[in-house]
Amino acid sequence: MLNKLLLTTALTVGLALPSVAANVQPGETLAENQDYTYWLLDAIKSMDPQINTDVEGSGVLRALFEGLYNEDQVGGLVPGVATGYELSDDKTTYTFHLRDNAKWSNGDPVTAGDFVYAWKRLADPATASEYAWYMELMQVVNAAEIIAGEKPVDELGVTAIDDHTLEVKITAPLPYFPKMLTHASTFPVNQKVIEQFGDKWTEPGNLAGNGAYVLKEHILGEKVVMEPNPEYWDNENTILQKVTALTINDENAALTRYLAGELDRTQVPAGQYPRLKAEYPDEAISVPQSCSYIYMFNLDKDKGPEALKDVRVRKALSYAIDRDIIVNNILQGGQAPSYNWTHAATEGFEMPEIDYASWTQADRTAKAKELLAEAGYGPDKPLDLTLNYNTSEAHKKIAIAVQQFWKGVGVNLTLNNMEWKVHTDKMQNQDFEIARYAWCGDYNEASTYLDLFTSYSGHNNGKFFSEDFDKLMKDSKTAENPAPLYKEAEQILAAEMPFAPIYQYTKVEMIKPDIKGAGLTNLMQNWYLKDMYRVAN
């Protein structure tokens, strides 16, 4: 039984929003040269949507493949292969309508069966995908059991009703489910091609995608070259004619090559933004990015240090950090000081009132001293703690600053720098006192942050536990409007302080001013090559 109202709304959404494809503005003239070269920090780990795990790979995958939905310049959903959907009364069955003109780059039609195949492939233990858990996060029926090997993969709650109708059943209502469909791991793949070429299917020439671009060249650690896919349903609106992604492992080297005109877009190394902004005001940009930087406290019953079990100590440590100095003097890239967990620009998120956010730093420091004294620490009984952080110039500078701030309130912090894998391993085994941590949202909704601090989250490395918090997060899944619940959850975090928030990310880049449509205002920083174009000066 379908909800009539929702049915009409869903269909209207589908019809009212034509796919945006390169949306050239009135008054803009396209440049003759439509080649675009951008920077990749590292080699692409895999061109297989169900295998890839990193953000940079996702950028390439969004060009080579197309999921049910895409994102527009501000991160809103626009139709991809799906033109619209219906949601059942109980909000657990989605029926997607797929466009009938979508094709693979080898000419095959894109069908609902391709999605079914890809989603089952993602969950299948035989694929051993590092993103299999995303199917679980989407709450697709039986996903968890299939990943655990308890049920056969054919029982995944996804069915092709016919070639152009895809039905997905989820275990409980999930208000942001459609938003999760822009994630690359949900993109369809062509079963025929995978079976024909096996492990070699992602090589240029073999790879068949349904995206706006095809893979021309992929030299590991050097470059990826893409050209428009003539079979793409909206190919006539694809403007960039040749796209090259160059792997440059050193961001300073990348910047030099950008300045020499070899790149159209690159990242700004930490601390260089003010100088570049002054020299190249049209090119240096700083825009919010959905990631949050914190120092996590280990609250584990057995392995956490005694001192951190006292909420007064945790609060004191958080209060004593002068975030303005960190963002203005160390990072210098327009980052925002942070007093909460969820990135402030997250869609639908309302920032709660957090007491210490509005205090002056002098007040915060005074309060920190007071709390520490109350907790029994002082000149006679100094507090000794250790901070673990992974190797990086910026992490080091922040750690040194925090060491100074804490010294000011009588806390001796030992800095413990370690290689990335060691740091991660120690965090996951609760073998730390305080650890640097950062989290980037998987989708543009506050639960991608807040779920992390539930007792049942696999990422809650500090072992924070609050029944109230768990309940709020469980309730939010079925709430008509989860925003007030998120607000309350954030207030619990501020009151319990299981971590010290430090700053919220911005993406600091150099981008040539004639490049348009790069999705800079999309908090998730998901850009689509098909929307980009170069204007004549």
């Binding site: 895999s46 233990p125 051993a128 590991l220 650690g221 050193d250 070899e262 391993d425 950062a438 490395n461």
Partner: protein, 307 residues
């Protein structure tokens, strides 16, 4: 001589095996694994991954399977991180790159280094000597991670003569800067070793004899002094050659060549066990091979040496 070479090659096999075992154990002793990430994988997903890559088996079995794969099929396994590639493919793509710029760097370093060293020695304590020593000390103290950005700044950003990085199948414009950056410090070492060795040889009896019988200085140097003076240089060149052709992480990172030098460091940091083992074995085998080559060259240069 032939039996000596055969004996050395026979010893190489257990040496490599020992290298494999020690590296394998050290690698697995390091905390974390290929699938350790900021977002801990759910236990079941991790178990599925480990099963797929055989990491759920006992260590001795993993090692046995690994060695068997190499012996039986010359298969170094799949990369745990770059999942579209096998180790064989990664080495096949990256090694020719480092082999190219490494060999060229080697040639340049030897030619310039030996010439500088000889020139300095025969004009001992002259301006030429001071100049040569000055240049080699300068080259020695300028490490390649300083050299590389300076080169890019000058030739790419200011002069716009050369591209700042990339490989493009090894076109000459892309090779120039990696070769300069890699060769300078080797060049400096070669020059210093050549100079001191040459000075010693020039003071030896057989040179005095050669001069006494009235040979022209050019002949004395080229025919009688150069060959024995090369002995210490050659023992340096063997390992240096291997170091150069297996690439430099600085050159690979700074010039984005896609070479194997970076794969070595990356695989260790990523715990990409198979790639790390593959590159270790490659470097190990080449080191053994070129140590042998050095020993053979020794016998050829110095008639006193017999195997």
């Amino acid at each position: 001589m032939i039996s000596y070479i055969a004996k050395r090659l026979a010893i190489a096999v257990p040496t490599l095996l020992l290298l494999i075992i020690v590296s394998f154990l050290l690698m697995h002793a390091a905390p974390g694994g290929p699938f350790t990430q900021e977002r801990a994988l759910p236990p079941q997903v991790l178990a599925n991954l480990e099963a797929k890559y055989g990491l759920d088996q006992p260590l001795w079995k993993q090692m046995a399977n690994y060695v068997w794969g190499i012996v039986a099929h010359f298969d170094f396994g799949p990369s745990f991180i770059y999942k579209d590639r096998t180790v064989n493919e990664i080495i096949a793509q990256g090694f020719p790159v480092t082999l190219t710029y490494g060999s060229l760097s080697f040639l340049l370093a030897v030619l310039v280094g030996v010439s500088l060293g000889v020139a300095a020695a025969i004009r001992h304590n002259s301006w030429l000597d001071y100049l040569a020593v000055g240049i080699s000390i300068g080259a020695q103290v300028l490490p390649n991670f300083v050299m590389a950005p300076i080169l890019v700044l000058v030739f790419t950003l200011w002069l716009r003569w050369l591209p700042g990085g990339g490989w493009e199948g090894g076109q000459w414009q892309y090779i120039v800067m990696p070769v300069i950056a890699l060769s300078t410090s080797f060049m400096a070492s070669i020059a210093r070793i050549t100079r001191s060795s040459m000075l010693e040889v020039l003071n030896s009896n057989h040179i005095r004899t050669a001069r006494a019988k009235g040979l022209p200085e050019r002949k004395v140097i080229l025919r009688h002094a150069l060959k024995p003076a090369m002995l210490p240089v050659i023992s340096y060149l063997g390992p240096a050659f291997v170091t150069m052709i297996t690439g430099s992480v600085v050159v690979d990172i700074y010039f984005s060549t896609g070479g194997i030098g970076k794969a070595f460091v990356d695989s260790a940091l990523n715990r990409d066990y198979a790639v790390m083992m593959g590159v270790t074995i490659l470097v190990g085998a080449l080191t053994i091979l070129f140590n042998l080559v050095v020993d053979i060259l020794y016998a050829w240069i110095d008639p006193k040496i017999r195997y």
